[in-house]
């Protein structure tokens, strides 16, 4: 018997019991759509995390003094001194796998232009900062190492600052005052959006670290050429854990920490930090996916149940088919095709419902959702698997019937 004829026979059988067919399908429909929704939500969450990581720069290490995370308090006096330009230079040049490093020192300052003013965050950074953070001017240019060395009075503005001070007019080439220092605007950074902590990353101006220290911030920190933190870009081919350990070793030597004594600085891998922060979310997603898979399993058991009922009910039909020349494989294939078609149709309907539900959740803007073309493969694969797996036993049982017994079955 050829496949086309077998499919026709299966179709007729499914149509004859339309209500039962629909009910049996329901389990698969619910299972497949649940799996699709869960996959879309989990993928969306994953993508959101990766986006956050990318917005920091994919392979970014942050080296800071003391144990406190952000500026604020430092360890006891004399133990947690600031890092400085020499540390930045040492990390950039002495560690294998570090592509570049930049220090950063920051503070809040008023920025003034022609009667408009705005208080923003000033970041004094090295020229490598742009490359290290993978963040560049959308217009104009960044500043160069020579300008950092000479303490040039140049500034690159963040998008928010431009909107507040200039509106629609072109800021490049204009002079702004940072505190009391007149600075030339040489560039405008591309838009970066909100950080994962909700602060506006575009409400910032970037100036050479030397200019920030000497002319704008005016901190007295008791260290020559201090920076608050150092950003180091790790080569994509290098192992970040090894690079982290190398930097730790280097800093212990530079800061003269005795063996056995604790570090008075820390090296953080920001990508790892964000991933760890989202670990709970991932586990919740896994749990939901497991629940969806279980509902698919229950759907499959429903299919098996229906197929067993169907083969028992049609025992005489099976006997007749055997009597007129059907081989065992013909009978087995007939019922296998029936269950696969049942599941496959259910899978397609489940796909439509699942994608619809995922799109609806996406439209709520509560969760990030990502609907990928692979969900179609999941739907088709899962339903075909359920059809074959749960259809095999009933089909096999039907094919082993004795034709005489089957014909006599009441």
């Amino acid at each position: 018997m050829n496949l086309l004829a077998a499919i026709r026979v299966a179709l007729v059988a499914l149509r004859v019991n339309a209500l039962r067919t629909a009910l049996a399908m329901l389990g698969v429909i619910i299972g497949v759509s649940a799996v699709i929704v869960m996959v879309s939500v989990t993928e969306g969450a994953k993508a959101a995390v990766e986006e956050q990581i990318a917005s920091f720069g994919a392979n970014l290490l942050i080296i800071r003094p003391g144990s406190s995370a952000f500026g604020g308090r430092h360890g006891g006096a004399g133990t947690a001194t600031f890092l400085n330009d020499e540390d930045v230079n040492a990390i950039a040049t002495e560690i294998d796998g570090v592509l570049g490093a930049s220090g950063e020192i920051s503070g809040n300052t008023a920025i003034v232009v022609e009667g408009e003013n705005w208080t923003t965050r000033v970041q004094g950074v090295h020229a490598a900062y742009f490359e290290t953070r993978d963040w560049f001017p959308a217009e104009g240019r960044p500043f160069y190492p020579e300008e950092v060395n000479s303490g040039a009075r140049v500034v690159v503005l963040g998008q928010t600052v431009v909107e507040e001070l200039f509106g629609a007019s072109d800021p490049i080439g204009q002079t702004v005052r940072l505190g009391s220092t007149p600075m030339e605007v040489i560039g405008v950074m591309s838009e970066k959006g909100q950080s994962s902590w909700g602060s506006d990353q575009d409400d910032v101006v970037l100036v050479p670290v030397t200019t920030a220290r000497d002319r704008i911030l005016g901190y007295q920190l008791g260290v020559r050429d201090p920076v608050f933190s150092v950003y180091a870009e790790v080569s994509p081919t290098a192992n970040p854990d090894i690079v982290t350990a190398d930097i730790e070793d280097l800093m212990r030597i530079r800061r003269d920490i005795q063996p056995g004594a604790e570090d008075d600085f820390n090296v953080r891998n920001l990508g790892e930090f964000i991933r760890a922060r989202n670990e709970t979310e991932n586990q919740l997603g896994l749990l939901l996916a497991a629940a969806a898979a279980i509902s698919l399993l229950v759907g499959g058991i429903g299919i098996m149940n229906i197929m067993l009922v169907s083969t028992t009910e049609r025992t005489r039909e099976i006997g007749l088919r055997l009597a007129v020349g059907a081989k065992r494989a013909d009978i087995r294939n007939q019922f296998l095709i029936e269950s696969v078609m049942l599941c496959f149709t259910g899978g397609l309907i489940g796909l439509a419902i699942g994608v619809g539900a995922a799109a609806y959740i996406d439209s709520l803007d509560e969760f990030p959702v990502q609907i990928q073309p692979t969900v179609a493969l999941i739907a088709i694969g899962a339903s075909a698997f359920v059809g074959v797996f749960f259809g095999f036993y009933p089909a096999h049982r039907a094919s082993r019937l004795d034709p005489i017994e089957a014909l006599r079955f009441e």
Partner: protein, 227 residues
């Protein structure tokens, strides 16, 4: 004389029912010639159904040899038996055994599906057989729209559609009134006149009278064989 169409030698069939052994056939030997019309008779439990299942390739003997149309059936595997049935045997049952909610022409063409015949040819051959049994006007009717006699005609058309060597009928008139029974038996008579070998299981003497030869079973043996 030409070789017989069916040749049975010392056929036995033993069923195991728990600890008991039931000897349904105890050494049956007979020949049936091509074109013959045989009625198999006997009380229930006499072995006539077992004999018929054997000849219809639905069952295999426990011992003995069975040859139909030059092929040995006693050592065939289940799938070989299935292929043989599909090719050489047409069945007519007491309860018709038509597929519900399936048209007469599809029912009649069912064996051709398993013989690997294409849809168009299946339809043409099924239609020809339905016309032959006088159902040319009701090709698209479903079993529930047909009378008992009409349903049995569909079943006969189905039995003939593969051009079998033997037509096996198990109490074909058992579910029909006497008037309709006669019509069905007339069809058998006509088919036999055209050369079809027919073997008919019945317990009714009037039905058996239609056959040219009557074989009577009792306790798993042939006790009477008259022509």
């Amino acid at each position: 004389m030409a070789a017989p169409l069916i040749r049975c030698r010392d056929l036995t069939r033993v069923y195991r029912m728990g600890d008991n052994e039931v000897h349904a056939l105890q050494g049956v030997s007979t020949d049936i010639a091509e074109g013959d019309y045989v009625a198999i008779m006997g009380p229930s439990g006499s072995g006539k159904s077992t004999f018929m299942n054997m000849i219809g390739a639905l069952d295999r003997p426990t011992s003995g040899t069975l040859e139909i149309d030059g092929e040995r059936l006693d050592n065939m595997k289940p799938d070989q038996l299935a292929a043989f049935r599909g090719r050489r045997v047409g069945f007519v049952f007491q309860q018709f055994n038509l597929l519900p909610r399936t048209s007469a022409v599809e029912n009649a063409g069912l064996p051709l599906i398993y013989a690997g015949i294409e849809a168009a040819e299946r339809k043409a051959r099924a239609e020809a057989r339905l016309k032959q049994v006088g159902l040319g006007e009701r090709m698209d009717h479903q079993p529930s729209q047909l009378s008992g006699g009409q349903q049995q005609r569909v079943a006969i058309a189905r039995a003939l559609v593969n051009d079998p060597a033997i037509l096996l009928a198990d109490e074909p008139t058992g579910a029909l009134d006497s008037q309709t029974s006669e019509e069905i038996l007339d069809i058998f008579d006509q088919l036999n006149r055209e050369g079809m070998t027919i073997i008919l299981v019945t317990h009714e003497a009037e039905v058996a009278e239609h056959a040219k030869r009557q074989i009577v079973f009792r306790d798993g043996e042939i006790v009477e064989d008259r022509s």
